[in-house]
């Protein structure tokens, strides 16, 4: 296990998290935004796993959380894609800039 510790994992996950944030805010295509969200979720997963491994090695809570997150992410992706496709059908665009029906 050598010299790689918790900190390394946390830094990787942080970087991943902020890459996801950056993507979420800059990509105009909804599908790519969805991908960014997946990245963010994965960054969290890495954290859960890493904390479980390094801080509470004899417990499994981190694992369960990761599992649940993965499950929820799957559900979320499914719903999101359903919405995106529906939006595409109605407006012929999945550009987030065009989806401003919320205003007013």
């Amino acid at each position: 296990m050598s010299d790689i510790g918790l900190g390394h994992f946390l830094i990787v996950s942080t970087m991943l998290f902020f890459i996801g944030i950056y993507g979420f805010m800059t990509r105009r295509n909804m599908i790519t935004m969805l991908m960014s969200v997946e990245l963010i979720l994965n960054a969290c997963n890495i954290n859960f796993i890493a904390f479980n491994k390094f801080l509470f090695p004899n417990q499994l809570d981190g694992v369960f959380f990761t599992l649940f997150v993965i499950a929820i992410a799957a559900a979320e992706a499914a719903v999101a894609i359903a919405i995106i496709i529906n939006l595409y059908r109605n407006r012929k665009s999945i550009d987030a800039e065009d989806a401003d029906m919320m205003r007013l």
Binding site: F24, A96, E97, A99, D100, M101, R103
Partner: protein, 653 residues
């Protein structure tokens, strides 16, 4: 009838006439209104004459001195414990003379108007306004309180405004009425400030108290003479400002410009208001405050004298060139009031020095008679010719003999021909001037000659000169144009006034009116009368030569003194100057600046703040743009902010 009741009735009756005719008569008995007004006026005249008689011959004199009696007085508007506006009636020689003049001339005008105004649309309104004016004028002369005089001062101003603007659909009449009101209003603003100054130092508004405090040495007199502004004592300021009000009403230079234009009103109105009564209010006001002027502020009296004599001469010169007969009379009025003013100005308090005071009132009295007569005669002429311009007239002596004789008498009276009323009063004024100030005296003599000249210029132009042809009264007047001279209602006042224009001169006026209440026996010096009388007669002869027959002499003479002539014809451009200063400079520029400032700066700031608010809210609104990503960004930034806050600041607590 007690004095207080009588003097209450004197102003109240015309007021009642006004209210009755204005509210009821106008609608229900318009034709009868004239008669009603005249009857009420007759009653007023009788009461006031009876009261005056009683005052002068029965009750007024105690130990040879005419008393100031207060017929009644009540507090109208209390300002503080001592200072209040009281309404009341004062009885002293000048007020008694004035109520007689006012009611009598008003009665004459009421009678005359029955014929003159017959058939007018607003006949009833006319009579109601006459009632309002008479009420205000009587209230003015009976005032016991300087603020009371100011109140009625304003009221005569407004009734004059209403009567000048009687032909309200004529733009020139409207303009003239506005001009009259605004010019006098300006003067009145000065009057008001003067009242404030005087009342502040004397602590009273009551005439008698004020005069007492300002003539007898005491703390009030010391305070007002020591306090000053710009090197002039507060007393002089106060009196000059009050005089400014008087000068405005009495059309003294430079506040005279409204008077000639005021001739737009019906002619009887000009006779009543702008010849005999309202315009002498300034003289009356100075006379009312005369003890203060004479004893405590001789400088002020000098100003009065010089303004009076200058106005008198100035107006006489202009009168020589005017062709509108009513304007000639208007300038003549201004000139004669100037006479009265400087007569007051040269007078002193008490004894022989007070000759000017007596003379001034004497002249006021006689002038009221013959000037009213002149105006009413001119009215008859205008009624006949349907024109104001003397170039449309000529040779009328055969067409209207009564008017002709009456007018001639009036002209002789105003010219100061011996035997007529004007001679006596003018002679007294000249004597007073002679005794005090040579400059004023010589100016007055010159003015007297000019007066005789322009009056007879007027007379000959109307009644002699060319033959009268009714050429301009063709189709639309038809036959009923030559309706004869005038109805009896118009002739009767002419005859009465003509007789009085002779008779009033023989009243020993000094016995009744003098500066200190004691009888003043003025000797009549034959020698001093030679010069003015001969000048007057000479001027009449010159006028006769020029105008009796139509000839070219006047035009030639006008040509030789072209500069003066054109100047006088255009009234020395005072009107234009005023118009420029007020309309262009003060109101034009001031108004424009104020309006601009209001629109752009004051309102601009308001609108600007609104715009800023709106723009700010627009910016905020743009943040709420419905785009998920923007929201995400704000959200994220916010979270970041909070994290920062918690990480770095939270620790410290």
């Amino acid at each position: 009838m007690s004095d207080s009741l009588a003097l209450l009735l004197v102003p109240a009756l015309p007021l009642a006439a006004f209210l009755l005719i204005f509210l009821v008569g106008r609608v229900y008995f318009p034709k009868f209104s004239g008669i009603l007004g005249t009857v009420i006026m007759l009653a007023t005249t009788v009461i006031s004459m009876a009261t005056a008689y009683k005052y002068f011959f029965v009750t007024g004199k105690v130990d040879g001195v005419y008393q100031h009696l207060i017929a009644f007085k009540f507090t109208w508007l209390p300002f503080s414990e001592n200072v209040s506006i009281d309404m009341g009636a004062i009885m002293d020689p000048i007020s008694m003379v004035m109520i007689c003049v006012v009611t009598f001339i008003s009665l004459m005008v009421h009678i005359y108007s029955l014929g003159y105004m017959k058939g007018e649309d607003r006949f009833a309104i006319y009579y109601s306004y006459l009632g309002l004016f008479t009420f205000s004028m009587l209230g003015l002369v009976l005032s016991t309180n300087i603020f009371q005089i100011y109140i009625f001062w304003e009221l005569v101003g407004v009734s004059s405004f209403l009567l000048i603007g009687y032909y309200f659909d004529k733009p020139s009449a409207v303009a003239a009425s506005k001009k009259a009101f605004i010019v006098t209003r300006f003067a009145d603003a000065g009057f008001l400030i003067g009242i404030l100054v005087l009342s502040y130092y004397t602590g009273t508004l009551d005439f008698e108290t004020m005069i007492a405090r300002l003539t007898v040495p005491g703390s009030e007199l010391t305070a007002i003479t020591t306090a000053g502004f710009l090197g002039v004592s507060a007393l002089t300021w106060g009196l000059m400002l009050v005089f400014m009000g008087g000068a405005g009403k009495s059309a003294m230079f430079p506040l005279h410009i409204w008077l000639p234009d005021a001739m737009e009103g019906p002619t009887p109105v000009s006779a009543l208001i702008h010849a005999a009564t309202m315009v002498v209010a300034g003289v009356y006001l100075v006379a009312r405050l005369f003890p203060i002027f004479a004893i405590s502020c001789p400088v002020g009296l000098d100003v009065v004298a010089y303004i009076g004599v200058f106005s008198s001469m100035f107006a006489a010169i202009i009168a020589c060139t005017q062709t509108d007969i009513k304007r000639v009379l208007a300038y003549s009025t201004m000139s004669q009031i100037g006479y009265m003013m400087f007569a007051l100005g040269v007078a002193g308090y008490g004894g022989e020095n007070g000759l000017g005071f007596t003379a001034s009132f004497f002249h006021l009295f006689t002038h009221a008679m013959f000037k009213a007569l002149l105006f009413l005669g001119a009215g008859a002429v205008i009624h006949y010719v349907h024109s104001n311009d003397m170039r449309d007239m000529g040779g009328l002596r055969k067409h209207m003999p009564v008017t002709h004789i009456a007018f001639l008498i009036a002209c002789l009276a105003i010219a100061g021909v011996p035997g007529f009323a004007g001679f006596f009063s003018k002679e007294e004024i000249l004597t007073a001037a002679h005794n005090s100030n040579p400059i004023i005296y010589w100016c007055a003599i010159a003015t007297a000659a000019l007066t005789a000249f322009y009056m007879f210029r007027l007379y000959f132009n109307i009644f002699w000169n060319k033959e009268y042809h009714a050429h301009h009264s063709d189709s639309h007047h038809g036959d009923d144009h030559h309706h004869g001279e005038a109805p009896w209602s118009m002739k009767a006042p002419l005859i009465i006034l003509a007789l009085l224009s002779i008779a009033t001169g023989y009243i020993p006026f000094g016995n009744f009116v003098s500066s200190d209440g004691q009888a003043l026996h003025s000797e009549f010096h034959l020698t001093s009368a030679i010069l003015p009388v001969s000048l007057a007669i000479g001027a009449i002869i010159v006028a006769m030569l020029f105008y009796r027959k139509k000839n070219a002499v006047p035009d030639k003479i006008a040509g030789t003194i072209k500069g003066v002539y054109t100047g006088a014809l255009h009234k020395f451009y005072i009107d234009e100057l005023y118009l420029f200063v007020t309309k262009k400079l003060i109101f034009g520029i001031g108004g424009t600046i104020a309006a601009w400032f209001d629109k752009n700066v004051v309102d601009g700031v308001v609108n600007f703040s609104a715009t800023v608010g709106e723009n700010f809210s627009d910016t905020l609104k743009k943040m709420q743009n419905g785009k998920v990503q923007s929201y995400a960004m704000y959200f994220f930034t916010g979270v970041l902010g909070f994290v920062l806050l918690f990480v770095f600041l939270w620790d410290k607590f």
